[in-house]
Symmetry: C2
Amino acid sequence: MTSYRALTFAPLSRVALVGGTHGNEMSGIFLTRHWLKSPFELQRSTLTVTPVLANQPAVERCVRYIDRDLNRCFTSEILQLDSKDGLPLEVCRAKELDRLLGPRGSEEGMHLIIDLHNTNANTGNTLIINNSTNHFCTHMASYIQRTLEGYECQVLALELKDSNLYDLSSVARHDLGVEVGPQAHGVVRAENMERMRKIVQTALDFVEMFNQGVEFPECDLDIYRHVRNMDYPRDADGEICAVIHPERQDRDWLPLHPGDPIFLTLEGQTIRFDGDRTVHPTFINESAYYEKKTAFSVTERVRVRLPPIHRLREGATLGEGASQ
Amino acid sequence: MTSYRALTFAPLSRVALVGGTHGNEMSGIFLTRHWLKSPFELQRSTLTVTPVLANQPAVERCVRYIDRDLNRCFTSEILQLDSKDGLPLEVCRAKELDRLLGPRGSEEGMHLIIDLHNTNANTGNTLIINNSTNHFCTHMASYIQRTLEGYECQVLALELKDSNLYDLSSVARHDLGVEVGPQAHGVVRAENMERMRKIVQTALDFVEMFNQGVEFPECDLDIYRHVRNMDYPRDADGEICAVIHPERQDRDWLPLHPGDPIFLTLEGQTIRFDGDRTVHPTFINESAYYEKKTAFSVTERVRVRLPPIHRLREGATLGEGASQ
């Protein structure tokens, strides 16, 4: 077995905890409002944690967004737009958040953004990272996964190139999306809020330990790698003409083999998966994805070897085998 | 035991099946769209069934309503408003639907409106009637309840006086609300759609049998009678400061005794029910009711004796012991 050389990362002193990126995903909204009044449970000795409510107008109306999905507005193209009157609300807010929490790619921004989401899909606890090549993030996910007692956590890697980043957490040096489901949008369920709270606490504990010099050794991590999105079957008018098959509903992450049922028409006809290999669907029947023409996301399960990581020693500069 | 005198009702030849009264409650929307194209399964020999999509603009945007809740717009006050520019969209639509399907209280309107709804609350299958004194409706509910194999159905009576009617189905002579949960708004789940479809089929079968002269004998029916709505605990700013307690979440219809946990604050404090008798909560944590300041509806369970009912004989006029 190959042994990997340790990677070093600069310590993280600035962390943003973001709720309300989608204004109807209530666990993060309730927690963020609570933390803005009572931030005590977020305190750690080596870092400053800032709670942020990302889209106040959408939160007030309890809708995902006002003009467009804020969490798709952090593209280079949008962030470079000149501020002029008439830009959609979320475009303005994305540019503002990039200034407040970034700017992306700069030294002065947040070292980590933890962005809090819910889904009505039966995803359980999902840790989303933009890229599995960022081994600070993979180690953080691995630590949360094995530390959270009684909770299963899946890790979803979007595998975005730097030029294709689009989400709020990408503004920081490191990113973690926390997705807790199932929970209908517009609803807060005590048990889901508690799960999210524990994930956040554990993530902050990880950062604290890392900053204090704890080395995280080489290990394996099973991740789900995003491959593509699958639309619903549609009729000649473009209307959805089949729904998620009852045998697939709520079976997020479980293997979908070629020939397995995926959709059911209103006439009772089963439509089967015509892929040529086994995949792992997630975000099955998420309400916000109907308009994105996504019945579910297709992922593949892979085992990734994480190299050991530790904090960059004080006074040292980033050298070979190091990354920031 | 008292034996009740039979009640007679005129046959029902015009039935409207309404979906999309709330534009994000998807079972009824999908079924209505399907029936508008393929109405064959609705055909019965003694009645005409008309599918109606109630709020097209809200359906297109996949929101409950555009300006205000359509299903609260069928009050006498609103229906009597002069049509002028500037009325909210749903007020205009309510007046239009009253003309199309009623007018309420007239002879020429629909004999029955079946209005199709979903809730994210764990209500299971619920049959909602405006008043348990309408024994055509109570018998229809009783028939559906005992005929639907493998499905439990609860009956909720709103017990509204004629002067306080507000919902779409009240436009017709007889009314049936079908509420299927749990289902997140904006989502269609195959299994829920199938349950709703079977309830509708069974309701139409009942009307057909009734029209054909079948007598429905005296029987008992357990109903949940709406008493009041209970708000979330709120802080000095009016913000919700406690969520549904995990021990109450999803326990719609089950008895809530004085002293039982109902809410949990974000600090972890349990708030207990301070009522003086056992009640049966429902619509627990329904997302659309946050803005209505309703954490759940309080009902009481009562057993009602239904008199026998049969069709008014041809040529007969309504006499004593009869009602239309």
